[in-house]
């Protein structure tokens, strides 16, 4: 088994829409908890991660210029992350198909975490 990180990518707008009304918010929450519960019972969930705020700063290049976001406008805002354990990358990608963010036309980026054996 190896570790894979899921990076949840979406837009600020889709994120807001999912929380648009109390009913939608509750549905969204239930779908997420169901998906996570499923991963957990099957022993794939290594870390639940944390959601990220929409705003932030960007520090770039040798000149180390700090600029504001603007993350709220970007098309694939990283909204959160999570770490799963899977047999290989295709299983990790297969497991990501259950992620509710896809219903809102978002994406899950699946990246193997480099193994460090000491």
């Amino acid at each position: 088994m190896s570790d894979y990180i899921y990076l949840f990518r979406t837009t600020a707008e889709a994120r807001r829409a999912a929380m648009g009304t109390p009913e939608l918010a509750q549905q969204s929450m239930q779908r997420w908890l169901a998906w996570l519960g499923d991963l957990e019972t099957k022993g794939h969930l290594k870390s639940r991660g944390q959601p990220l705020e929409n705003e932030g700063k960007l520090v770039r290049g040798k000149s180390k210029v700090i600029t504001d976001g603007p993350f709220a406008e970007v098309k694939d805002l990283v909204a959160g992350f999570m770490i799963v354990e899977a047999r290989d990358i295709s299983q990790a990608a297969e497991l990501a198909k259950g992620c509710p963010i896809l219903e809102g036309d978002g994406a899950v980026e699946v990246r193997p975490v480099m193994a460090m054996n000491f």
Binding site: R15, M19, A25, S28, M29, L36, R48, G80
Partner: protein, 402 residues
Amino acid sequence: MVAALTRIFGVHNLSLAEDVVQDAFCRALEVWKVRGVPDNPSAWLMATAKNRALDVIRRERTATHFAPELSRLFESEWTLAPVIDESFASEIVRDEQLRMMFSCCDPRLKEEVQIALVLNILCGFGAQEIAGAFLAGRAAVEKRIARGKQSLAASRRLFDLTDDDVASRLPVVQRALYLLFNEGYHSVSADSVVRTELCREAIRLTELLAGDPRTGTPPTHALAALMHLHAARLPGRLDGAGDLSSLVDQDRSTWDAALIARGIALLEQSARGDEVSVYHLEAAIAAAHVQAPSVDRTDWHTIVALYDRLMTVAPSPVVALNRAIAIAQRDGPERGIDALETITDAGRLAAYPFYRAAFGELEIRRGRPGDARPHFEAAVHLARNATERRHFEKRLQTCASK
């Protein structure tokens, strides 16, 4: 939470307070959906809202005027955090909710605007639900809420109400809570008929009123009694399949004995004064129902007499409709139909499905299912949600099979 934040930001920043609450709610859900719902979600929400309030005040300290009586304390970091903390302490919040209720019920606003504000700000009602409770249009209610908020925002001294203000505004506050309870009991929102949480919210706020010496008057106790006695019957309103169950078919063993006992105790407490309010009469009617072992052994004479008194103090087409049904129980379906036909102002019931359904029921009872049909067809057409529709469709089938 909006009440506590409004005290902090000042009433002229009401929409800011609402934004902060909305924002806290969205954040909470973002985190809960991956981390799971915490054991104490409301404490978590409070903490989030508190932090957001601190952020807002720090960020906009110079640009925005917050509550005048607190603004000096906001200038120093030493006093800022404790003031915010204190504003969220549970007993303060309780007090704020009471004050917020009375502030919304400003006599300069029209009564329906006052009630719409209480429902919107304190109970989180949407315009659609409020429109349902008032038999009014959604756009009109939206306008009402916006106008009310504007006018509240224009008055900067919100929270220093005198005892006289409290006494003169109490009836409006009671009526708002009464409507809130009704909305929960006969919910018109598309997906559910009974929204227990709205009833619970109304009971909570009414108990708050009853517990305060200035507002715990006999009518307040009668109102609380009325709510408990109706709430006791909530578990029986839907049958096992989630369908509406009429009083005749309800399984009385499902009624909540503890709520009945509390309701009766409150009713006795409400009898201390010599005042007989609308709430006293309605609570007495509810008490007659819950204390009867069956529909046939219900004291319909007393109930009709109580409806007669209600018609003299607070006549309304819906009261007249209920009175007609009680008369049918006492004197038979023909007399009931007569009473239905003589309701003045019946035009206001034109969109109310249970009015046509009442005709239908009584036609069936006097053995004319054919005459009942068009009434139930109309009721099906007027039904406001799927559960009501199923209920009337079932009755329609009964007409066909007889």
